[in-house]
């Protein structure tokens, strides 16, 4: 069977022929594979920059304290080519981020998936290869 698959539009092709692929150990140097994290928060800022976009979200912890997290996302040019713009991702939107914490303990994470309440994925991180956590 040769089903040609619908490839999710938000893959930024970090695997093969590496669209803006950074060396393996640049992520591994910064982020801790042993500290996976899931965060739910509201979008406060988006930096639509290269080499990686950054999303900032206000996350309320159990005590009710709000911490602003910086999430490293994918490269924006794939989204731009698809016709998406910054304005398609409104400030204040609720976002769920799954990723890995920075080794240095700051509220920073490498976003593997960043999903909006309406189900849209945004800047899929480095995780579109088989076996990576979803």
């Amino acid at each position: 069977m040769r089903a040609i698959l619908a490839v999710t539009i938000f893959c930024v092709g970090l695997t093969l022929s590496a669209a803006t692929a950074l060396a393996h150990h640049s992520f591994a140097a910064e982020f801790d594979a042993n500290q996976p994290i899931t965060l739910t928060g509201t979008l406060t800022k988006m930096e639509w920059v290269n080499p990686h976009g950054w999303i900032y979200i206000d996350v309320k912890d159990q005590s009710g304290k709000v911490v602003n997290w910086a999430i490293e996302a994918g490269a924006p040019n794939a989204l731009l080519r698809r016709g998406l713009r910054k304005t398609d991702f409104p400030i204040g939107s609720e976002v769920v981020v799954k990723g890995f914490r920075a080794k240095n303990g700051t509220p920073t994470a490498n976003g593997q998936t960043v999903t909006f309440k309406d189900g849209r994925n945004f800047f899929l991180g480095a995780s579109e290869t088989p076996g990576a956590p979803q």
Partner: protein
């Protein structure tokens, strides 16, 4: 015949009949990137007559305050100090050569300074915004023998010079390139930004052809030139 007159040399033309801007170009005004207005010398900086028509930049009041703040902090805040892309038109008057590649549909302008690239797409529409790029989106057309380039989709991060002259993301630049003679181009940039200026204003420059034998662009990989104590 007027005395001392020289036969005007024909400007180079491409096969399609358009003036051929291909080749290596550079400003001789070595301090415009530091201050686009009239300025006296500072240590390491030659004096210069300004490239701003009328020497006046028509700031709105709040924007003028920002310019003054920028000026006060220029040695740290100028984005070029951080090796960032200089934007348009500053990239044109950085003291580095650039090379124009001309084909009928695309004109590539390659700058030695941080290998900045601008591709001028001829006779085509801007991409739909909002888009914020350092070097903007360039679309060109010919107006007789003048190349007119319309540039928009900028971010608000670049300065026009080290003196802190700035703009918003609403910036729109219209460039006009035309031959004075085969080895000199007249370059004019009209600046429009209703968030920052009360009216459009212009900069004017001469671009000189680099004629040294075997001339080519080399590297200025700015960030790699910073001293590092690994």
């Amino acid at each position: 015949m007027p005395s001392g007159a020289q036969q005007a040399r024909a400007i180079p033309r491409a096969p399609d009949g358009r003036p051929d801007l291909s080749g290596f170009w550079q400003v001789m005004h070595t301090s415009a990137w530091l201050d686009i207005q009239d300025h006296s010398a500072e240590k390491g900086v030659p004096a210069g007559q300004g490239i701003v028509e009328g020497n006046e930049i028509p700031y709105l009041p709040a924007a003028l305050e920002k310019k003054k703040q920028n000026y006060a902090n220029r040695h740290t805040d100028d984005p070029v100090v951080k090796c960032f892309l200089p934007g348009v038109p500053r990239i044109t008057y950085m003291p580095f050569p650039f090379q124009i590649f001309q084909t009928p549909q695309k004109i590539g302008i390659l700058y030695e300074y941080v290998h900045a690239v601008r591709e001028v797409h001829m006779n085509s529409k801007h991409l739909e915004g909002p888009i914020e790029w350092w070097m903007g989106d360039s679309r060109g057309r010919w107006d007789g023998d003048t190349l007119v380039v319309d540039v928009m989709h900028f971010n608000d991060q670049t300065w026009f010079d080290r003196a802190g002259n700035h703009h918003s993301e609403a910036l729109r630049v219209t460039e006009r390139y035309s031959f004075i003679d085969p080895d000199h181009l007249r370059y004019e940039a009209t600046i429009e930004d209703p968030k920052v200026f009360s009216r459009p204003w212009k900069m004017n420059l001469v671009l000189y052809r680099r004629k040294e034998p075997n001339f080519q662009l080399l590297d200025y990989e700015c960030h790699a030139l910073e001293p590092t104590t690994n």
